[in-house]
Symmetry: C2
Subunit: 338 residues, 2 copies
């Protein structure tokens, strides 16, 4: 008893991500220790930038999936910890490079690392974290898991390049957009869920089902993010909204509104997103247009479908507290938008 | 007989890099095929940028080392080919990111990829090549080789960050500079030479000696590059000179001249390199100052020392046409500056 009060999990309903994190707390402490250890470097700016990201209060949802799928399958080794840390490093490296690519002044109301330290530093520290991710994978000792994660990293980069090509293009279709997020977001979620079955020596159909769980969860996650960037259903606009609009990113809500709207609205989207000429009221008007077409509802409806497919995929896995938590997590990913 | 004339290697003395490439031509054709195959992507800008670099007439010196060390040790498998291609991909990814970091209009008289396609594209295609490098390593099937190359990739990024911190700092010492190039250049040469002994199951002392061969060759290579950037001994100034001066990179020749020079010269270096205020005559004056202190000679003398240590390291390896070619390569790396 060191005097620290334990969190009172009974006192109030907690969200499934928090509940899963509590369930996995011993493993996640190991993951955090690995993250801290492997982000270290005698070159001071490296840990400074790495911790700017790693300590930014991220939910660690990807490593949590790796840890939970391992435990769900009865894996009792230690290899899932470096794989989980590797997944978070790949995610962090991608974020560092995204900030350079997007050249945003603000990201969710905070200054991105490249605006504090500079683009060159963000590029190089991203490379460092990426390399360290592969060293962590080597520690896990599974060549097959390494293959899955390195392929995911290549697919992510391809998705980012395609997103860049689609930026400010109002002709981006729903199908094109779904292809992009399958690559840039869902591929890493899929890999996060697939590596533990490999490590645990689970049957091929379980591995395939977990890949589906991760991929569908990733699609749901991204679509909810897209809706939340316009305030979601509650339409709470604030510092966490408007990034995509400002950067001219045609996400699903906008693609749907473009399909449904007339020439006037099209001209609005062309001016604000394709040409990037925005006045202070434009974001509110964008939200109004999206709502008039039910585009946020439709986006969240699509997210709900993907989350349901993620839950269904868990049928191939043992029914235990871990798989139940993973199912609850998939449902929560969508609920947070309401 | 397909009618193509064979190169007449007897007609004229060829440089050892060319001779080694001819000796390794079957393997190198395999490496080139892998490079072309793995740089492909349905996202058109990716192969476009990748080939801008990969087809730029590079000497493929790093993959050549991987192939030659494998053959020298009697390795008769195929794993050295993907490792050699992986090494070239890591090198290419680093170059793409370097161009973004340095923000140079010209690199050796040519437009770098980021000036043709943009910084975001160069960052992302670098990430793609980096990820594909790891997929190639997985193909080779050696976890130990993967460890060596992923560690090298992390060390390279650290070295680049340190170089960035040292840029425009006239206080950079010779020791600091040697530390930087050991990381940013020599680490990949060392890994290129170390992975084949691992694959071939060579004794630990042979693996260690090849690591030394690669590292020392890499240091010699970088120092010669540094001297050539100021025209080398022949002082042929042209489109391939002046990059470091323009970018304010304090390399060994400048560090040595700063140690030896007086206050006037120091003020010159501070203005041109630290402050970046350069007039058209300044590069010629820089070369004059370097020559007045024998700084280019001293840099090449240091390079010669490292090349000699690379040759000595080959004593641990079998004496055959491959080790003889690797020794000749080390000597040639220095000779090209004269």
């Amino acid at each position: 008893m060191n005097g620290l009060p334990l969190p009172d999990y009974e006192a109030a309903p907690v969200n499934p991500a928090v509940r899963l994190a509590a369930l996995a707390s011993t493993d996640m402490a190991g993951v955090e220790a690995l993250i801290a250890d492997r982000a270290s470097s005698a070159t001071a700016v490296i840990p400074a930038i790495a911790h700017h990201l790693l300590d930014a209060g991220g939910k660690r949802i990807r490593p949590l999936i790796t840890v939970a799928t391992a435990r769900m399958l009865g894996y009792d080794g230690r290899g899932h910890l470096p794989l989980a840390a590797a997944v978070e490093f790949i995610h962090s490296a991608t974020l560092l490079h995204d900030d350079v690519v997007d050249d945003s002044e603000l990201r969710r109301g905070k200054q991105p690392a490249n605006k504090v330290w500079g683009n060159p530093q963000s590029v190089l520290v991203g490379d460092f974290l990426f390399a360290r991710a592969f060293m962590l994978m080597v520690d896990a000792g599974s060549m097959e898991a390494l293959h899955v994660l390195s392929r995911a990293a290549a697919v992510i980069a391809e998705g980012e390049v395609r997103q860049l090509a689609a930026a400010r293009k109002v002709a981006t279709t729903r199908a094109e957009y779904m292809d992009i997020i399958a690559a840039k977001t869902a591929a890493l979620f899929a890999a996060s869920a697939q590596v533990s079955p490999i490590l645990a020596g689970a049957p091929a159909e379980v591995e395939a089902a977990m890949e589906v769980y991760g991929r569908e969860l990733g699609l749901a996650f991204q679509l909810v993010d897209d809706a939340l960037d316009y305030g979601g259903i509650a339409v709470e606009l604030g510092k966490n909204t408007g990034d995509d609009f400002r950067e001219g990113k045609i996400t699903l809500p906008v693609a749907l509104a473009l399909e449904a709207g007339g020439a006037d609205e099209r001209a609005f989207w062309v001016r604000t997103m394709a040409d990037g000429r925005q006045s202070p009221d434009d974001f509110d008007r964008a939200v109004d247009i999206l709502k008039s077409h039910g585009a946020l509802d439709a986006t969240l409806e699509a997210a709900r479908g993907h989350a349901a497919r993620a839950v269904d995929a868990l049928d191939a896995a043992p029914d235990n507290v871990w798989s139940q938590s993973l199912a609850a997590l998939a449902e929560f990913v969508v609920e947070r938008a309401y």
